[in-house]
Symmetry: C2
Amino acid sequence: MPADTSEPAEPSRQRGTYAKGIARRQEILDRAIEVFAERGADRTSLRAIAREVGVTHAALTHYFGSLEELLVAVYEESTVPARQPSAPAEDATPVEMMIKSARINRAIPGLVQLYSTLVATALEEGHPAARTFATGRFTRLRARLADIVRHQQDEGRIRDDIDPDAVAALVVAASDGLQTQWLLDETAPQHEALALLDRLLRPAS
Amino acid sequence: MPADTSEPAEPSRQRGTYAKGIARRQEILDRAIEVFAERGADRTSLRAIAREVGVTHAALTHYFGSLEELLVAVYEESTVPARQPSAPAEDATPVEMMIKSARINRAIPGLVQLYSTLVATALEEGHPAARTFATGRFTRLRARLADIVRHQQDEGRIRDDIDPDAVAALVVAASDGLQTQWLLDETAPQHEALALLDRLLRPAS
């Protein structure tokens, strides 16, 4: 992995400059995203990816460390805001925000499958990169949604007799779980169930 | 795989009788369950399992077809009612039933991880055994919970203005998703979120 320095490194015949290294890493990552979209992320190897991307196994290890870290980088690169068509509206409820974000992710080939694989990997022993990714995503997402719940409770748009942290965890779980059910079986009532949760969270009218 | 016949087959020097085959399959399966509990199910191979179980790769393929089919068999064998300490009480709500079943599964080493791996595998292309397993589990579980919702709506224990199929899908998703969040981070409010959902589904008192 390139050293974290703001000074440009001296050119080196082995690796080129730091800026070149960053560009090369990005180039490999962009190509890896295409490869995963075509092949899927399951039970592939760093060696097979290197072949398809057109780099050596050593180069891939140099830039990403392991297959697991490459998978995390592919997922994060695919979900950065710049790659997403538009942010959810400010006044969306937490459930509406998750619906929108799930729709955007579903449009990127292989992304939902990659997410499931990373979470399943995180649950197994001995996968620190996947675990850091999954734990971090859930922690940040719950905190962000809980803030929105508090704000919308103050505005009278969400019931004020429910715990914002519990609501946030429930909304994330429902969104992830219903996405899985729907991907396996399009007759699963994903939309109905999310609309129901949205309704249950509103104050009785 | 042994032929499906109720007539006992002629003894054969290759495989022994049908009954012997069944017993041998069960013996391998029991040992495989122990191996998975110790090692985890991720990115292992049929060959490595065969070595640990103490059978040949050919024998394992003969009885289970593929690693994927063996993983499904391990999961199903580990969750058959006979292996579970006690069935949920008849008058439990759907959320309470899922809480109880999650607690039982969590006590079996590696089982929740194996479940996540099977579901993630099912979402990828080209894994018919995992897909049949995951789709079947969700379909049966939703149907069973929806029946209970209808019954408890008639009894006035669940709100009667909500769709039983949507409730069932929501409860399964919440249970699966919250279990994952909690396994990654024990500060995730799994119990609070499930208790909240249970409360939201009850009629206003």
